[in-house]
Amino acid sequence: MATTDHTAPVATGKRPRRWHIPLLLAPAAIVYTLVMIWPLVDSLRLSFFDEGAPGERIFVGLQNYRALFGSDLWWGQFWNALVNNFEFFAIHMLVQNPIGIALAAILSLPALRGKTVYRTIFFIPAVLSYVIVGFVWRLILSPTWGIAPDLLDRIGLGFLYQPWLGQTDTALITLSLISVWQFIGIPMMLIYAALLSIPDELIEAAECDGITGVAQFFKIKLPLLWPSIGIISILTFVGNFNAFDLVYVTQGPFAAPDGSTDLLGTFLFRTFFGSTSQLGDPYMGATIATAMFGIIVIGVLLYLFGIQRRLTYYQM
């Protein structure tokens, strides 16, 4: 094989380094690291410190965590917010996602007319701000304005009306349902996309086998949707910890009534910035943020190793 003849001068040296790769990566990597990753790490670090003399930062080890998990003052609030957070999450999983899937299933029926219009409308609330959504529903449910009781009266259900946002036992559920109302378009769209990716031939084969309608959905489509539903669940879980705005807007920083709508987000905000009754404490804030981070990591890991692995991905 070695029949090399060296007539041509041999080019020497190495290929020029591919400088464009670091140059392309740099802007994103720098902004992301400086503004997202570093502050997250810094917050983690701050949770091990406290303020000694004014303006002085001292290392206190796990003291903040002991306070958060051990003292009545902190633990009571934290536990309350955590339980509320899980309730908030559970309502989304049980109401938002099933309804979203059902709507997507209906909208993906090939014979249905006007699906573009429905699809467009169902997504509208999701483009609005929490501030708007919160106030809109606060006004509508408010006894002062009286829209809700009036509407219920008209269909003969006036006796059902209660000031839902103002009662400790109904406020959290009401808030969760408002959030469901706002974001139902997202699972709907994702499931709709997954449904579209099921090949037509498969559905036609099912029709030929006599599997139609509701049975077709449960026997053919749903098994193929589980991976998407898994992704939606984890998005719902993580998004849940962002839920601050809605509570803050409708119920204020104290998560009225009586802290019954307090979520970890509002708890973090209140602790960090303080309120009329309490000074802001960035160190405890950092501790709470770290605890939330831990909960998210545990949740995501549970999902990845407990659920994701059992989901079957079918080749389509």
């Binding site: 902004v31 502050p39 810094d42 169902f122 501030v131 579209l196 990716s197 943020a289 939330m292």
Partner: protein
């Protein structure tokens, strides 16, 4: 064809439409109610809340209050600057990084990719304490720049994740043809790959824009001053102050709703096509 018409069961299809129409009402009625009542006088708002504004109930007093007292034109300007600049930075930086992560083979690429999309799973709000300290140290607290940096960092992971998936689908032959034609890697990215991906980029843009425009947390903690207030925060403050002035509150809400609604209506076809074409999966 047999599935579209011949086997249509009229009973079943009207039942389905009934369900969909009921849900349509649930979706739109609250928003319509607010916009409708914002054009009424106080008497109209309380006397006949479910009716369209008519001669005697029609009034613009709410809007007059908003425009004389609130500083909404400034808030609008702030929101626009923050949203558009963050969006541009996210798309441009995100595309550059996505290209570097999807186009070339080199050691450490997988780890870098993982690092850059880690942020998908961690809400940036958990780093608020650190962000505030850093912005204070850099002397840019209470500026739009701080907001822009935060939003860019926040949305880069999703942009990078989606775009690098899509860039893998852009034909290698096409990029190679351009290399043979002597185009630089930067030109291949900006003049060839990004134009080819235009529909997907538009979708990413809208999905980046909506949460930035709507965010309350960071304007509240990072830039709450009057000069840097965004529309969302401005509306929140305004409503808090004028909580008893119903017509003003309703007008402020409508003013905050309408831009997003118009934007969404303009791009809805594009957005939905973007989502359903697998841009987000």
């Amino acid at each position: 064809m047999f599935r579209t018409s011949a086997r249509q069961n009229p009973l079943r299809s009207s039942a389905l439409h009934l369900v969909l129409i009921v849900y349509t009402l649930i979706c739109v009625a609250p928003i319509l109610l607010i916009i409708m009542n914002s054009f009424k006088s106080r008497r109209g708002i309380f006397g006949a809340p479910l009716e369209f504004p008519r001669g005697e109930t029609f009034s613009l007093e709410g809007y007059e209050t908003v425009f004389t007292i609130g500083n909404f034109p400034l808030y609008f300007q702030n929101s626009l600057i923050v949203t558009i600049v963050s969006l541009l930075l996210t798309v441009v930086f995100g595309a550059m990084a996505a290209f570097a992560l999807s186009e070339y083979r080199y050691r450490g690429r997988e780890i870098l990719t993982l690092y850059m999309i880690l942020g998908l799973m961690v809400p940036i709000r958990l780093g608020t304490v650190g962000i505030l300290n850093m912005m204070a140290a850099a002397g840019i607290s209470n500026t739009l720049t701080a907001l822009i940096l935060v939003y860019t960092a926040q949305h880069l992971p999703l942009a990078i994740f989606v775009m690098s998936e899509l860039m893998r689908q852009v034909s290698d032959d096409l990029k190679n043809a351009a290399r043979i034609d002597g185009l630089s890697e930067y030109r291949i990215l900006f003049r060839l790959v990004m134009p080819v991906m235009r529909p997907a980029i538009a979708t990413i843009a809208v999905f980046t824009m909506i949460p930035i425009w709507n965010d309350l947390w960071f304007p509240l903690v990072l830039a709450p001053s009057e000069e840097t207030r965004t529309v969302t925060l401005g509306a929140q403050f305004f409503i808090g102050q004028f909580v008893t002035n119903w017509s003003a509150v309703l007008a402020a809400l409508s003013l905050a709703i309408i831009p997003m609604l118009v934007l969404y209506m303009l791009f809805s076809r594009q957005i939905i096509r973007g989502i359903t074409s697998g841009a987000v999966k």
